[in-house]
Symmetry: C2
Subunit: 334 residues, 2 copies
């Protein structure tokens, strides 16, 4: 590897001069700058980012912790985060937490040792963030896609309550009066808010909320499948099913398929998240979109702001969800 010192030696100048030529400093003559830049080119010099980080006390690396990269929702977010971060001069160090709060803390510490300038956390969503606080206190951190309410943290999320309320109202507008909510027994605030949105909209519409919970399992698709399979055994008592997530809805779809329940003819089905699966024509799930690109950008921008000025107070940004109408819902025959 050719270093700055090597270039300086060949050029017959001090390393300070080479450094200045590269950094665009004004403390250098125009002709020497050109000479040195040309020499760097010729010698194939690449600045060593590690050495630079050492003295600058900043790595220009953002750590990203995500529950599971292979989850389509999370991989979409990850992709946008990477691109937007890179456009701002940051690289991404990515770690899976594999839905494990212990591992989540472990990789967080690991990233701290790596001296990342900040962390974006797509949390497991255990509902308990107290044990993370001694870690988030050590480096600028932004949570994404998890509503942390009044916790002293930075986060970007959508208005889950409003989103689910809008979903409920949409079903109501199609004539549905018996709408079953398929909830997720997660402790996350996100899921609590979604449920509240449903209940609130039911109340406003004057219909009775009915809720079925899935136990929180590794795969919510599996959970939706089992829950729906059980439900179908006893006969269909509703005209629409509103699921806490697209994954759940897809599980339901599988069970419906196997039980000969036609969607949307016999049952309207709605999800939440708008993962890329949902748009596939054979699925074509009506759902509520989380604007992933906007969320990613907002999180990166928020983080960079806090990296530049660590004393900024905690903040959060709540983006509006968007109803995505597809073919899994239809109006009730009158």
């Amino acid at each position: 590897m050719v270093t700055l010192k090597d270039v300086a030696k060949v050029a017959g100048v001090s390393y300070a001069t080479v450094s200045r030529a590269l950094s665009g400093s004004s403390e250098i003559g125009e002709q020497t700058r050109k000479r040195i830049l040309k020499l760097c080119e010729e010698m194939g010099y690449t600045p060593n980012a590690v050495a630079r980080s050492m003295v600058m006390k900043r790595t220009n690396i953002i750590g990203l912790i995500v529950a599971s990269i292979e989850n389509p929702f999370m991989s979409e977010l990850t992709s946008h985060i990477e691109i937007h971060a890179r456009h701002n001069g940051y690289n991404l160090m990515v770690c899976n937490s594999s839905y494990d709060t212990e591992l989540e803390k472990e990789v967080f510490s690991l990233l701290l040792g790596r001296q990342v300038d900040g962390v974006i956390l797509l949390p497991v969503g255990s509902g308990s963030y107290s044990s993370l606080q001694q870690l988030t206190a050590q480096v600028p951190t932004v949570f994404i896609s998890e509503n942390l309410q009044d916790l002293p943290e930075n986060y970007v999320a959508i208005d889950n309550r409003q989103g689910m309320a809008a979903a409920t109202e949409y079903l109501y507008s199609l004539g549905h009066r018996r709408i079953l909510y398929f909830g997720c027994r997660s402790n996350s605030v996100t899921h609590r808010l979604r449920l509240e949105g449903y209940e609130q909209a039911c109340k406003s519409a004057g219909i009775a909320p009915e809720v079925l919970y899935s136990p929180f399992e590794r795969s919510s698709q599996e959970a939706g499948y089992r829950l729906a399979a059980g439900y179908f055994q006893d006969g269909i008592r509703h005209t629409a099913m509103l699921c806490a997530s697209d994954s759940l809805a897809i599980g339901v779809m599988q069970a419906a398929y196997e039980n000969g329940v036609s969607i949307p003819n016999r049952l309207s089905l709605m999800g939440f998240d708008n993962i890329s699966f949902a748009a596939l024509p054979p699925i074509d799930l009506t759902t509520v979109d989380q604007p992933k690109e906007r969320m990613a950008k907002a999180a990166v921008d928020m983080l960079i702001e806090r990296i530049k000025n660590p004393d900024l107070p905690h903040t959060h940004e709540i983006l509006p969800p968007l109803l995505v109408l597809r073919s899994s819902c239809r109006a009730v025959r009158s």
Copy 2:
């Protein structure tokens, strides 16, 4: 941040001693080691990986360049690579190349500047790797999921030819004699081999190969959709369709759906890759699996070997693909 020097000062020893206590060196007394480790704990000392990298001339970071993280196939691979790398003491720096060969080279250089110990490349697949060679020559590199034949590179791939031959034979065994191949006009060797596998199996079976090409577009799903839509206009002349990738097949499925062509009743459909989409019940696509976890492990292991011993000759590993039977294919009525 509390540093090793701080600990040394409090402990009243030199920094060498603290370093030795932490590294498990034998050149230190048992009681001092314990005393220092306890002190490190108390003071909340975290080793600075950047400083360590500086002197060790090794970062324990693997760079991963992927065409698009949000592509389900690639995100699955990414996830397994991250986990396996971390278990071996490496962290992952991830970059999107966004299907752009120029950007691919750009981020590669960027990773070189970051002093990554090695690079795993999930390439755009332009078919031309010569311009990459001056980059891959500078750091241990392993290509994944792209068959590079005799190129002087390291790679992990599947036997694409055999996989597609097996797919063809399976359709033949179901009684299909008119099998249309939906190819991808990509320049990648991978796609050439798949086509060859199809042609070879046709020849052995004594049936005529028929091929329709999609132009290489950003989204192969879109390409499949357009190609199939055109095909259906002129009437169905085949009993089975074999697609070069699952994405293509899903596009075909959409077109079939819209044209009232029932799969598998009217037309058997087969894909290749086994992306997670393919398993979703409403899709349930018969396909050829690329064993992603095994590929990821093989690539990481191959890379680490070459990091430890950079003088190792180039090598490659070809894994066997696996037929995944689902419901998108059926036997021809006799």
